[in-house]
Symmetry: C2
Subunit: 366 residues, 2 copies
Amino acid sequence: MLIGVLGAGQLGRMLALAGYPLGVRCIFLDPHAGAPAGQLAEQIVAPYEDASALEQLARADVVTYEFESVPEAAARQLAGRVPVRPSPEALSVAQDRLHEKTLCQTLGIPTAAFRGVSDERELEAAVTAIGLPAVLKTRRLGYDGKGQRILHQAADAVPAWRALGSVPAILERFVEFARELSLLAVRGTDGRIGYYPLIENQHKDGILRLSLAPAPRATAALQAEAEAMGKKLLDRLDYTGVLALELFETPAGLLANEIAPRVHNSGHFTIEGAVTSQFENHLRAVAGLPLGSTALIGHSAMINLVGDVPERAAVLAVEGAHLHLYGKPARAGRKLGHITFCGSDAVTRDAGVAKLEAILAASARG
Amino acid sequence: MLIGVLGAGQLGRMLALAGYPLGVRCIFLDPHAGAPAGQLAEQIVAPYEDASALEQLARADVVTYEFESVPEAAARQLAGRVPVRPSPEALSVAQDRLHEKTLCQTLGIPTAAFRGVSDERELEAAVTAIGLPAVLKTRRLGYDGKGQRILHQAADAVPAWRALGSVPAILERFVEFARELSLLAVRGTDGRIGYYPLIENQHKDGILRLSLAPAPRATAALQAEAEAMGKKLLDRLDYTGVLALELFETPAGLLANEIAPRVHNSGHFTIEGAVTSQFENHLRAVAGLPLGSTALIGHSAMINLVGDVPERAAVLAVEGAHLHLYGKPARAGRKLGHITFCGSDAVTRDAGVAKLEAILAASARG
């Protein structure tokens, strides 16, 4: 079984590693030579729109993506030749914040109040309709906090819009959320769905730094609320594979914030912390194989290594810590790897996180 | 960090997979093109004695093996250039059943009564000294039950010796053992040792079929007895890496049967069934990194897929089953992959094994 993957970053690398034991080989298309996945699997180095590269990829049994900013046209072109899972429609929805939020609205999934903005006149109307504070986000290509501005007063609006490049945008009411959670779900070709328990995510400078699973204080009711939202999306999109739903927890309940039509950074802990990893489950789903259990093993934390990798020996000396490096050259703000800590209970997990954060802080000072 | 590995079979494949997340790349030397490890890492295709191939391998930071029948001369030649772990001496001892048993004897590690045999006269004397029934084994190159004959009466001796090729051999008293166990231990460059809990191994036609971990009814006293034997060997050989010690459990206590100076088939379950897999711990050890915890996660079973691979979907439909395929063409008697089943307790594990064995039996009939 050969699976074609658009994108060859660290998500692709972990997909490839999960594939080998299953007898599933991945072949990647990515314009960057020496990409993380290309270091351990075949990579076609070419632009995503390259016709002959897409031709090569179409020899795979099925095609998927590890990166949602691939051109939708490439996915559609492939879909004429080979099953593409999840569908180009799912990719298209997730690529555009306005489509994403509009779909949620249609399905009765709560979100922050929002409005599309395509010029300065619409921007003004949106500020009046939504109220302040609000967040102005580009409709496309935003990630890790890039492509967005917070508006505190009406006078912030036009400068923010111009700073973002005067491109089509969405204005969202600023949500006073207690915390961010994510729900990872996987749907098979037979329509069966598996849900991982909710994950709590903590960001710094717009970049995910720490995920805790299961999310502390997440009740069965909260899990059910999230799963109901996930199920609506998965079924409506006739989705195949892993989908991540980013959520805000507010006093009024959960709000959907973003959809990622792929394996997700907050789910990296599942390699050690769940019976079946998100990577294996994504491959099983797109390959048409039965899904694996999404049950957790103990209490896990995932710490992203951003911009800097601490001394390997210091990390590995922490009992229960697992290191994952992506083979990327160091650069400020870049995700270079992650550490998963697994403990038998939340107290052990929190102690492990404290130990690892001290190592990271010492490394950053050194 | 680049680790050179002599041999590129399935053990090497699982070493390579364990290495990537740690930022450890493996490069393999193996005469067979398209070997399991060569499918996902760099492989030098050449005989083990090939001078220029050894030259290439010597560029690694450290060299190890995944196969103990590599020529000792190759290991010694490399050892003049680059650290070789475990040492060529450990390899040499494990390659020769007479050296192995003699070392055990020297260290006070109980074994079956044995005697070296290099001609028919010595064979006769050995039969008289050891008594019958006994097992005549070639000193070198025996594995999976190959290279041995059971002697029931004195008249069996010479024909057995000739059938084995009249090569240097060892005659061992036949042991009425209750079961076979293995102890996997890992020793770091700092001399620290980690021991996995004892594993029970069940064979068919001389080939390992099923391993259970932890071994049922293995007491703390039995574990301590095995660890004491392991410690003597590891310290005497100033060993670095994973070592497997195959043991017979008898009414009179444990007897050492065989030493494997490498990761071992009975330890494959550690990928899912232990905090740190034997593959990761071997790499950590030979790379001079801190060892990971050898604690188990639940109760596991490992079923070898010999000669035939069942339908993948049937295996993956069993909750808690993990499939590992080696990328080898099917051939009778060949190890093509394994399945690990992890359960929370022994009863769940035994039910999982029964389910999987029914699938394997149905597949063999089909």
